[in-house]
Symmetry: C2
Subunit: 436 residues, 2 copies
């Protein structure tokens, strides 16, 4: 190799790069308070403690008659037990009713059962007879009663800091009347495309290429909890690159450039930014492939991630740098952790190049009875096909050269639409069926 | 059982109920055109055909020198091959360059390689020497060249009707300059909570219960591609119920009531709506448990789903009726299909009741090395705990009474936050670590 210089790549492990970013920058998880109703997908920044027991008292599970189970022991079809109806609670109201021997009170679902009652017999299981009900089957203590605190106890911690808020969690927050909740602030990520050949302007797409990479990265930033801001295209001009990155850091936590990061004359991102006094170089290249040109520095104490422009490289750089950083700023560990689907390799995959790197290969999943098989979709890093025709990716660890047919792999999934697509694609309705 | 009447339950299989809905109503998938940039998660209503090959011509994969590979055969460190630089293509522009014997042209990534060239040698692998470059290693035909159409061919169908649009698909749509795309219209789902005891008004929550179920159902409607509209609370009053459902159908495809569906005196939803001339009863109860009170009719040719009010019943009713209907209106089959995670039962689960029903049990997933184990979280259908502390649910088929410890189960997943939570929960950053 010739032309070796300070600009030349010396690849760093992504984990090491992340650690260096965190020791050299001053980013940290921010906290904000949001409406619980708007908190879906956010990450809790507090433990949530139940302020009262649920239910708050012993309540009826069905509309019916609250009884003492001991009164019903002898009940049978031929010899029904008769109980006197001494009260009716027709709505969820406070009441002070109690029952004595041979008595019952009508209650509706969710209301407190009267004192001395320990079971509820559903409405449809009793026969009315004037002021009395008749019961033909014994019931047991606790039948159709939900006892105080049996769901959730006062002071119980159900949701902890670091929890990803799901639909059911919002239901719980409302239930305990916690209408505001502390969550980690969404990391603000600025996205800048770099290149003379790029445009955002549809009138120019005869002469130039439409810039689309920032849109792809923005989708993933969102999917993993960040707040993307697409700044747009800057030309291959050192002043413009510097100015744009600098400005973007005023209103964002992380700045991302895409393109202009290799060794050509027009690859100015690293060259320009790494020479600034405000910058601390972190990694000139990462030990991932595709994506090895991904370069990182800390500029004015904030991370600047420089992604390569080839589509697969852009994506891999995003996965190994942006997702962990977004996690970190969301109160989680700065690790590349993704949901996975277990699968078996459908063919042997041989990957000899970049042995000391993590190699990423996109795979398609196919059903094989109960399990999935994974089939690599190959193509150079500029190609869309591997990410379009695949369902996720596998990681080939450092030093490994082959993954044998039949061996188990974890296929990593990058979005909910991706996951739905895997499960729904065999269930497209045929047009001629839509004639109900 | 006493009090049997026309109102009494006669449970129907959810699949049968869905078929009846489709034959009795006139809902059908609608189509709309949206900006490709806004199409994430939408379902394609057309096949997308590539209007040109990608790349459109043979292009350089890196910045470097386009060569005839045959010229480089003899290259070695001791005996470098010298090629004359006869042109430079510094940007992605149209050009008509060609090379002859012993010639080369500088090209940047993404530009067409000159006529007669069949390989590109990256910039950093050559040594400049005046007007010449020196090469120390032979290259092969195709090295660092992406040939025309090698990614995607003209007229190739990459995305088909019924495809769930993922981030990478949007990137492709923009790449082929398809800025608008036909997708299925989001089904509009009205959500109405029924019950005197409920309120949406925070001032009333001393006397009444805050209504929260519509919010939960709305989240899932959204997650699976519908457009929820929360109408609010109506009291247990037949006129109000009828009026609200009727009005809601003016601007929605499906109307959903929650609560007031059992057999008590205040359970007026079925009683009221099933008696109307405009209504066709579909199912008075479903063979699912929890959720068996779920009742369905078609009203003025549109489905009305009446969900029970107990939280787990509401959720199960949603899963087995609303999700399939939303799918159907999105061009997919009206089936309850959810993403699943494979797991092993950690204990034997015995479910004797409702043998002829599908029984739903919520389970928590734990890691056991490479696999997950599933642990049932039990509790009556009014309890939040099973859905709060679980990660998904399993289905116990009709007729099955036991699922043995160690047997494989598919755990069904209802949301992206749920999935992330499963994988991220062991990676919460400890406070004292956040001191980089």
């Amino acid at each position: 190799m010739f032309n070796k210089s300070l600009e030349f790549f010396h690849y760093v492990k992504p984990e090491d790069a992340l650690e260096r970013i965190l020791t050299s920058s001053n980013i940290y998880p921010g906290i904000e308070v949001v409406d619980s109703l708007e908190s879906l997908g956010r990450i809790l920044a507090e433990d949530v403690i139940s302020p009262f027991s649920i239910p708050r008292e012993d309540v009826a599970h069905f509309d019916g008659y609250a009884v003492r189970s001991s009164d019903t022991i002898s009940a049978s079809t031929t010899n029904p037990v008769r109980l006197k109806v001494v009260g009716r609670v027709e709505a969820i109201v406070e009441h002070d009713l109690s029952i004595g021997d041979g008595e019952t009170v009508y209650v509706v679902t969710g209301t407190k059962i009267p004192k001395n009652a320990d079971a509820v017999i559903p409405l449809e299981r009793v026969r009315m007879n004037g002021e009395y009900i008749e019961i033909i089957k014994p019931c047991k203590k606790g039948d159709n009663v939900t006892f105080k605190g049996s769901d959730i106890l006062e002071n119980e911690v159900i949701l902890r800091r670091g929890h990803v808020i799901r639909p059911q969690d919002i239901r719980y927050l409302l239930e305990i009347r916690k209408f505001k909740v502390k969550v980690y602030a969404k990391p603000r990520v600025s996205l800048i495309a770099v290149g003379d050949e790029l445009t955002e302007n549809l009138d120019e797409i005869g002469r130039k290429k439409l810039e689309t990479s920032t849109k792809l990265v923005a989708s993933y930033v969102k999917e993993f909890g960040g707040m993307p801001k697409i700044i747009g295209v800057v030309p291959d001009n050192p002043e413009r690159i510097l100015e744009t990155v600098k400005n973007s850091l005023d209103y964002s936590d992380i700045s991302v450039t895409i393109g202009g990061i290799s060794l050509g004359v027009r690859d100015l991102c690293w060259r320009t930014l790494s020479r600034c006094l405000e910058s601390i170089p972190i990694a000139r290249g990462l030990r991932i492939q595709p994506g090895r040109a991904t370069s990182i520095l800390v500029f004015s104490k904030k991370p600047v991630i420089m992604l390569p422009g080839h589509i697969q490289s852009t994506l891999c750089g995003t996965i190994y740098t942006l997702i962990p950083l977004i996690y970190y700023m969301s109160g989680l560990s700065p690790k590349k952790i993704l949901p996975t689907i277990h699968a078996k390799m459908d063919e042997t995959l041989i990957v000899k190049e970049y042995r000391s790197f993590k190699r990423i290969r996109f795979v398609k999943l196919d059903r094989d009875g109960d399990t999935f098989t994974a089939n690599p979709i190959l193509g150079d890093s500029s190609m869309l096909t591997p990410i379009l025709k695949s369902d996720g990716f596998i990681e080939i660890p450092e030093g490994v050269e082959r993954i044998e047919r039949g061996s188990c792999v974890d296929v990593q999934i990058l979005s909910w639409p991706q996951l739905l697509q895997i499960f729904l694609r065999d269930h497209v309705h045929q047009s001629n069926d839509i004639t109900y």
